[in-house]
Subunit: 337 residues, 2 copies
Amino acid sequence: MLDERKLAVLRAVVEDFVNTNEPVGSKALADRHRLGVSPATIRNDMVALEEDGYITQPHTSAGRVPTDKGYRLFVDRLSSVKPLSAAERRAIESFLSGAVDLDEIVARTVRLLAQLTRQVAIVQYPSLTRSSVQHVELVPLAGQRLMLVVITDTGRVEQRVIDGLGELDADAVADLRGMLIRATAGRHLAEVPGAVEDLPQQVPPENRAMAASVLSVLLESLVERHEEKLVLAGTANLAAVDFAASLRDVLEALEENMVLIRLLGEAKDPSMLTVRIGAENFHEGLRSTSVVSADYGVGNQSLAKIGVVGPTRMDYPGTMGAVRAVARYVGQILAGQ
Amino acid sequence: MLDERKLAVLRAVVEDFVNTNEPVGSKALADRHRLGVSPATIRNDMVALEEDGYITQPHTSAGRVPTDKGYRLFVDRLSSVKPLSAAERRAIESFLSGAVDLDEIVARTVRLLAQLTRQVAIVQYPSLTRSSVQHVELVPLAGQRLMLVVITDTGRVEQRVIDGLGELDADAVADLRGMLIRATAGRHLAEVPGAVEDLPQQVPPENRAMAASVLSVLLESLVERHEEKLVLAGTANLAAVDFAASLRDVLEALEENMVLIRLLGEAKDPSMLTVRIGAENFHEGLRSTSVVSADYGVGNQSLAKIGVVGPTRMDYPGTMGAVRAVARYVGQILAGQ
DNA sequence: ATTAGCACTGAGGACCATGGAGTGCCAGGA
DNA sequence: TCCTGGCACTCCATGGTCCTCAGTGCTAAT
């Protein structure tokens, strides 16, 4: 029922509408795309496409506009990811390679992605759950407190202050530090709970309370609360768009970290692109936006996600190309760190 | 030339305009404020106020609107900071006291301030330059690299990976670590350069190169590049406002960290409020916004700034009250940490 | 110095006419 | 059977006109 030509018409409608932001009519299509048929024929095809729900008219006597379903078909079957130009690749590479630490890598990545796509970019910090412990440090602070610092192999540093330990013995702290390092260094984070389980037994009774406190904070900060940090950029690009939903709703949704995390979705293979269009996003305020996201990681191990949020009326091939390219480069940079 | 009544008229104009967002006329003023005179008299006063540049008419036959100069006078002489309600204070306290580490304190503070003021909130991380070194850690990583971690007494942790050091001797690293700790622990950051200056002399010649690399990274990351981190929240509140400048310009300005840092201005005493109105902000895109900022810190030592960005047409007394209160609470929380 | 009265001004809304892009449908042709 | 030219129709967007009305400045009286 959807022959080649109808698909070509749909593709043309999507492309023109993305370019012009105006409903596209049969005559305009016949002029701008070499479809080889007359406007009348295109009109007939459009009727069929409309019956199947791929396009719609804002009102009689207006051109057609793609529906979410139309964009879906376009993304799945009618378009291909557009590779970046050589100049863009060079720009990415030189821009990202100047970063000195994880924070800066993430900050630069998100700005880069926002600039390339001219939309809102989201970058998630590398997940703790998949990395392993590089080093643990236990530092006495003033006022009978300890600072616990955990360094992971992905370059992330987590720290917590532990309070209410009572009198602290410097040697006991040093001992505990040594035991923690021996028990956890090189371990995958998921293994840490098992690895430290019987540590309190090895501590002299008078220090067990302290050891237990430290361990509980360690476990809590690393395993239970794998709070996912993420960063945004490019919200200014939203101002240019006129949303069906109010701009305020979109901005509000973007400030909710939990929404963003769900938006990026479940982890898959690195460099796999995911596209969610319009109402496919569960969130009310994001009904008229699309999200293009990808995993990044080292090797074939996914560490986290990056993504782009824009109007459903976006340049999917270009955006997908940019997201995929940036995800790959970040993976490379992280591997080199 | 500006008698009591004219000032009262100006105050009334500002208050009404902030409430209604519509030019306010002489009759409306006479009705809503007990000025004790007729609209005609108010009109005469308005002419005087307009000649002096405190208010202006969008067009003939419209009411008056305060100018930047009018807001300035209002803030300086006609209004007082409005204290928060008891309920608000309790909310602040309970909301902030639940934070477990510095990142969370900052994150919560900025959201809180955005909610209280219904505007865009900015919170700067406690400055490195005024804190002192709590601990230095030097951790060998895989691949002949070292990670340098510096912990400050304000709870901030800075880390950097150092590369290209060649073959590493574990003992030499441990020695250097010890020397670093002894040389810097407890020192004010500004003193660090002097304190480590002659360290390379004390290192055996074969390890001088490594020591020099580590030191240069230490100095660079702590002193030279006192990159000021800051966090935003509440951008969604901008969507409700209609700016003279385009919303896009405002959002763009807010994404530039350097702009924000300059916006918050030079440090003063903690709890000192600063208000910059409209064109007093140097930045083009922020010509129609005002910034209310304050220092926060421990004791009378200022650590960093917090602030709020909103339309010039904002509720100054309320905003100033919220900013001052939040600044004080953050200081208390940090002191307790 | 204040006020009532009055003529004047300009923005904004309602109303209407018009042009034009785009449609659906039909009948004729490949 | 599929395509196309022609045609009547629909409805939005644009622009002009008119009217209302809030608010003003000025003047003369208190």
